[in-house]
């Protein structure tokens, strides 16, 4: 059957070719990560020095300066976001996993999934009308609220998943020893799920650490220190944005450096959360 053989050879060739192509697709996709890292290290590595971490931005036209205010600003915004987002997400998740029944749980889950899918720029509009308009000026508080709102659904849904993954025998054991439901939760279930919960919180933190869009008209940006919580404040991702689109070469150089610091921080948190903490627990994807 020469014709049949030729057909089989063709089918085998197609099979091999297409499967190779899928491998190429996977390689291309993964290569992008190393491409991004390589470029950031190449362009930004030389601009990272002591001044970058300790100095304020230089006035327009002068070279030098650093991003100390943006680094502190990002830290303050993220602290506020964590204080707002994690308790709501964590305690709400306890309700969902341990207390909830039927329709209420469905509504909460639905709201969280909806919130998770809202584009970050729209969260910015929300924080603007909620905080900036009543106070009549941009502030650290507004930026923190925007980022905090983004942290809620990520923390909530993954914490619930991790708490549900705790075997029921543990709950029953604690109950059989006479512990109340609440005692069971905080002495047995939360400790059993803590690695997963911490992973979820870290991933939520890393996710909002790089957000720029919700900060544009909430935290706004500031070339100086921002004392207190009630004034406009600078942040690293916002600095990357305005320096990248600026016409000054020195600023563009610093945009690369800020990008490298930002990405380094986010990747380190991600790697820590996914490898060390999450060993043995499967990380749900947001």
């Amino acid at each position: 059957m020469p014709a049949g053989n030729a057909r089989l050879r063709w089918r085998k060739f197609v099979s091999g070719f297409m499967l190779t192509m899928t491998g190429v697709c996977a390689l291309v996709a993964v290569a992008v990560l190393f491409f991004i890292l390589g470029y950031l290290v190449y362009h930004g590595g030389t601009s990272i020095n002591w001044n970058f971490f300790t100095k304020l931005p230089a006035p327009v036209g002068e070279t030098g300066g650093g991003m100390a205010n943006a680094i502190v600003g990002s830290a303050k915004l993220l602290l506020l976001a964590t204080v707002i987002g994690v308790p709501i997400g964590f305690l709400g998740a306890i309700y969902l996993a341990e207390f909830s029944t039927g329709p209420i749980a469905f509504v909460v889950r639905y709201a969280a999934d909806l919130l998770n899918g809202v584009p970050s720029i729209v969260i910015g509009i929300f924080a603007y009308s909620l905080v900036v308009l009543p106070f009549k000026h941009f502030s650290t508080l507004a930026g923190g609220v925007a980022l905090g709102v983004m942290m809620i659904p990520i923390t909530l849904r993954s914490t619930e998943d991790f708490m549900r993954a705790v075997p029921n025998t543990l709950r029953e054991g604690a109950m059989a020893l006479g512990a109340s439901k609440w005692k069971t939760i905080y002495t047995v279930i939360v400790p059993a799920a803590y690695r997963g919960i911490l992973t979820a919180v870290l991933l939520a933190f890393a996710r909002v650490a790089g957000e720029t869009a919700p900060l544009l008209f909430t935290a706004f940006g500031n070339r100086y220190w921002s004392p207190g919580w009630n004034q406009p404040i600078e942040s690293l991702p916002h600095m990357v944005y305005i320096y990248a689109i600026s016409p000054y070469e020195d600023w563009q150089r610093q945009a690369w450096a800020a990008g490298l610091v930002l990405l380094g921080l986010i990747l380190i948190i991600n790697i820590l959360a996914r490898t060390i903490l999450a060993r043995g627990v499967s990380v749900p994807r947001s």
């Binding site: 291309v28 305690l91 509009i125 009308s129 990008g259 991600n270 990380v283």
Partner: protein, 327 residues
């Protein structure tokens, strides 16, 4: 009158409070109440978000009605606000990104789910997850300094020379524009397509593959004609998810699209997207009508992503349930 109301009110809790306090003693009721308040806060915030977007965009809704979506003049000075150029820009860039990202993403997902040994697949998936964590402003940074010059110097002239007879690939090569924004978006959404599609493909029951192979099909035939069709609703779900991300993506797009309200057949021309115009003009919007028009754009974006995310979830859940039944 006031005295009677007080007595009536205090009468209720006094009789009921003893048993309530009893229940409070072991902490269960209190814990339930506190955690419920925080769970309810999530719902409240979501409702408040929709409420703020709705009440914040009353003026343009009343003044322009549906014309808001159908007119192309965006002139803050004369008070004319038509969103068509932004809607056009959002749809075109999202379409370009999907045309690039869908084949690449599904191809990579097939490799990870069907071919690669578990260890290799997990390692690569780890990198894909990291890629999904890269902030959009970093993609914007690379877009501005790497992709824009590359488009201007090489890709756009080359496309113009070879495919210039199609109106899509005509016009001067600025580097920025719809095509560049679409390419940056494609790079950003590929990880989402890969992650979800891989998961869906992995959930296809083994016997489907084995049956196809036993009937004499090659590895590719069993993958492409049996496994992929089996998972196709879930894969569609991953595409909707990616589309929702692409529509709402702000920073990377605003940095490379050119920020010009423009409807043009050419993919090389600069444009604007809904998210980009909000990011770009919100702080300088003077006057209520201007600001509220931008908020209405936010509402449009919210509704688009709301519908797409909902569809995506339904499709993905439907596939995993079907696979569960197949075992």
């Amino acid at each position: 009158m006031a005295a009677t109301t007080t007595t009536v009110h205090s009468a209720g809790p006094v009789t009921g409070s003893r048993s309530f306090l009893d229940r409070l003693r072991d902490g269960d009721e209190l814990a339930r109440l506190i955690t419920f308040v925080f769970a309810a806060a999530t719902v409240l915030i979501t409702v408040l978000l929709v409420f703020e977007l709705w009440t914040g965009s009353v003026l343009p809704r009343h003044k322009f009605g549906l014309d808001f979506f159908l007119t192309r003049v965006w002139d803050p000075n004369s008070g004319d606000f038509g969103a068509l150029p932004f809607i056009y820009g959002t749809l075109v860039t999202a379409a370009v990104s999907l045309i690039i990202a869908v084949p690449l993403g599904i191809g990579a997902a097939i490799f990870l789910a069907e071919l690669a040994p578990a260890r290799v697949s997990d390692t690569l998936q780890f990198f894909i997850d990291l890629l999904a964590a890269v902030p959009s402003v970093i993609y914007g940074l690379l877009g501005v300094f790497i992709i824009v010059p590359m488009m201007r110097e090489y890709i756009q002239p080359a496309l113009n020379n070879t495919l210039g007879f199609i109106p899509l690939f005509t016009g001067p090569a600025y580097g920025i524009g719809f095509l560049t924004a679409g390419i940056v978006l494609a790079i950003m959404v590929i990880p989402y397509i890969i992650s979800v599609s891989r998961e869906v493909l992995l959930s296809v029951p083994r016997d489907q593959r084995e049956a196809a192979l036993a009937l004499g099909s090659t590895r590719w035939e069993s993958t492409w004609k049996v496994v992929v069709p089996f998972a196709r609703t879930g894969i569609m779900g991953s595409i909707f998810l990616a589309l929702a991300r692409a529509l709402g993506e702000t920073m990377a797009v605003t940095m490379v699209i050119g920020n010009t309200p423009n409807i043009s057949a050419s993919l090389f021309s600069p444009g604007y997207s809904i998210a980009a115009v909000i990011a770009d003009q919100f702080t300088e919007a003077t006057g209520d009508l201007y600001l509220q028009s931008l908020i209405e754009l936010g509402l449009v974006l919210f509704l688009l992503t709301f519908i797409l995310n909902g569809l995506a979830r339904i499709l993905i859940v439907a596939t995993s349930q079907r696979s569960g039944g197949g075992h």
